[in-house]
Symmetry: C2
């Protein structure tokens, strides 16, 4: 069917066209169906139905369609409801339980990157991966395809290091500490992080409290050249960009798909140029990985995968049965980090200990001898703190570190919850602490969150257990209610 073009030029995030009901009916398409537009080039776009923006016989282009087709206003294009794409047929093949080849997985991932698949089609792919499983070969092909369809960083240094934590633990903000320590020891660390998905904050949210985090790949390389490392958000770099899209669909149901997790982490690290990778798998009842057995299996899959990609990989299984560090929430976690870097007496020693352990392992993996003592010495001497400042100042483009950390305020509404009896704290549920922080407004409200006065320790009646912060009275009340009902912290 020939339709008249209107360029609306809005950024839809993917190729979208607007039709009115009448035209959509004639094309036999619904909202979120796909149409194929043929002019000088062929492009697929997702249908949105608006009544007032276009007339019958007209088609409105989003910016993503306009820039590809370059059609003038009122010119005509041939539009048809799209038959199932090749990727669609391949996803159907995977649903039927068959294996996909290297070429086939590349077609799917390329279509994900070029927005040729709808979220529903990606959901089918994710469900098929989850329910039909992926062979070791398929995971390798998937990882390769995810690396291939995106930007890649290269460094002249032979050894490039990185760490990744599987997550699910409240607080647990080891990354800024490990990066500072290892960069001070001379390692190159192109560290990219995500924003919060299910937790109170992601590393990118925490760094953003005092620093810019969005950079282009060349800006990122410049920062690393200056300081050995960076602490940036991974989302704007175009490294394995299919991953961001797939994660967006996974998180609709908070699905954990192991093949996707493996490919996601490996592709991001390899695209960033890393070849010495430390994976931290915390396990515990309320962590993402629930048992040591599961953690061991996952570790062995990572190791197998790393062999194929010629990277040296080390995995540590860590204690995930409670939050790590005192704070959960962007400003609170940054305050924990600064305290440790400054070696303040009241610092979170559990977070320090774990960060030193991870630094030691990553340094060892990257060829540094006496790594245990070196890590300790770098932190104790203030070298790590200096390196951290250097990285933040490089990211901000000016020496404003001291001003930035002065802005780390906590929410004006707060409540301290005290022990109703003496005893021992026998559980601090990571998921519930994260949920409570979300209710308090994290990660959007950077001053919100929870400060744990105690971990799995003895407490006396009346001692403070946790203080919660937020900028809204309603949210404070909601969080208190949630605390009372869901009991994230229990005493025995």
């Amino acid at each position: 069917m020939k339709l008249k073009v209107k360029n609306f030029n809005w950024l839809a995030g993917r190729p979208v066209v607007i039709l009115n009901h009448e035209t959509a009916k004639a094309l036999n398409v619904f909202v979120d169906d796909r149409v194929e537009i043929n002019s000088k080039r062929k492009i697929f776009a997702v249908v949105d139905i608006f009544e007032n923006l276009v007339k019958t016989g007209e088609i409105g282009f989003s910016h993503e369609v306009s820039t590809v087709l370059k059609q003038k206003l009122n010119s005509k294009v041939e539009v048809n409801s799209a038959q199932i794409s090749l990727s669609g047929r391949l996803i159907k093949k995977k649903i039927s339980g068959k294996r996909l080849t290297k070429k086939e997985l590349n077609i799917i991932i390329s279509d994900v990157v070029h927005n040729n698949l709808t979220e529903a089609e990606i959901a089918y792919f994710v469900a098929a991966e989850k329910l039909k499983g992926m062979s070791q070969k398929e995971i390798i092909f998937l990882t390769e395809a995810m690396i291939k369809n995106g930007n890649k960083l290269e460094f002249k240094e032979k050894i490039v290091s990185d760490k990744h934590c599987i997550g699910g633990i409240a607080g647990n903000r080891t990354t800024p500490l490990v990066v500072a320590i290892c960069a001070a020891a001379g390692l190159i660390l192109p560290k990219t992080s995500s924003r919060a998905i299910t937790s109170a904050s992601g590393t990118a949210d925490v760094i953003e409290t005092i620093s810019k985090v969005e950079f282009s790949p060349s800006q990122m390389k410049k920062i690393i050249k200056q300081t050995n490392a960076c602490l940036v958000w991974g989302g704007s770099l175009g490294l394995a960009p299919s991953d961001d899209k797939i994660i967006q669909v996974e998180r609709l149901l908070n699905l954990d798909v192991e093949s996707q997790l493996l490919a996601s982490i490996m592709s991001k690290k390899i695209a960033a140029g890393s070849n010495r990778i430390l994976i931290d798998i915390p396990y515990g009842k309320s962590a993402k990985v629930e048992s040591k057995k599961q953690a061991k299996e996952l570790a062995s899959h990572f190791k197998q995968l790393s062999k194929h990609f010629n990277v040296e990989l080390d995995v540590v299984l860590t204690d995930g049965k409670q939050p790590i560090g005192n704070g959960a929430g962007p400003n609170l976690e940054m305050l924990d980090i600064i305290s440790i870097l400054k070696q303040k007496p009241n610092r979170a020693l559990d977070l320090e200990k774990k960060s030193l352990f991870l630094s030691e392992r990553l340094m060892k993996l990257s060829g540094i001898k006496n790594s245990k003592q070196k890590a300790k010495q770098i932190l104790a001497s203030g070298k790590a703190f200096e390196k951290f400042k250097e990285i933040i100042n490089a990211q901000n483009g000016k020496n404003n570190f001291d001003q930035q950390i002065k802005k780390l305020k906590l929410g004006k509404f707060k409540k301290t919850i005290k022990a109703l009896k003496s005893g021992k704290i026998n559980e601090i549920d990571n998921k519930k602490i994260n949920s409570m922080c979300k209710i308090l407004g994290t990660p959007e409200t950077i001053s919100a969150g929870a400060y744990l006065h105690k971990h799995l320790d003895k407490v006396k009646k009346g001692e403070p257990i946790v203080t919660i912060y937020t900028e809204s009275k309603d949210k404070l009340e909601d969080a208190i209610k949630f605390y009372e009902e869901s009991k994230p912290i229990t005493l025995e």
Copy 2:
């Protein structure tokens, strides 16, 4: 986060809000994520990101949101990225392989109907149904939920009849003939049909060549009261409306999900008030159901399901190894039907024979004796033709049947393909014939399609095999190329 309301009042087909990039980032949401809006009522909506329509801190409401929340321009509402909904958690439960209860399936279906689930979430549900299977109980609960969440028709007559074909066969337009014959025999038939999904045309597309097909439930009942039957499009009646939404997601990959097929057909028929249901399952290599074994299994599942719902159900397994009737495409199929009703000598005898057989079975199931002879006599005597005219005139609201059928023209571009050698046609592939018709422009171009001069018969060199019709020279050439490459008809 508090946002300022703009009512855009466009019909998006589901609750949609518009944010700009900045606001979406602050909320940590992407295109197609869901937000929760709290004012006097709480509503979930899907995010669209437009740069120019709203400013930072503003939220644009689609008609579906505006009518629920009734917020004034520039008033403020609380907006947050939506946590996983209860339905989301239930779908995740199904993905993990657990059974869903009656209450749980009702929650999911209710959310489908009220647009509270995104297409991607529905895709997860469909994939879980397909890959984890549904127990007999779950299928019953699903069917009940689909009936409950929608309109229902009731008739004062004790016996209400209907037929359904599983589909996949090119042509095969038995429904108008069966409805005309059975209605002439005195049966009540609230027949609703779909438009084309994968075939050249659906029954609704074929009827629409000469008649209105979109009615409200009360208009539909009026037509049945006048004529005993109707031949309407099922999409506008609100009978088991969740089905339409789920089918839309299934067809993204042309997925066949048996549990959904069973629930879909049973819920539509029962919601329409039918209690005598004939199911036609054609099987064959290029049909939807590929083997007799599969057809038998499906038949037994239908029978089990019917027992629970207290309806009498008969299943016939029919030959699906080639198209039925001569024409494939809206006008061509209507011409086949008129020829049979008029008992023209050149009519499609295979289509007539099958329609008589189905009529006989449905009449017998509905308590009519001597149904075989009666069906024959009704067709031969012209009573079926009279009844068909009556139904079409009732649907059009005037006696314009003769004028309407004069409009049944065929495409001005055509090509007849002839036998290159003498021999026997050993295959006519339904899927390929349907694909060729789609290339010719069906169902949008009602005059397009294929006319089969031969079925699985002997042919002499030079005899015409098939004539194809379309309104576009390009499409004719594309279809000829497709014919030559994919060989839908082969000789031995």
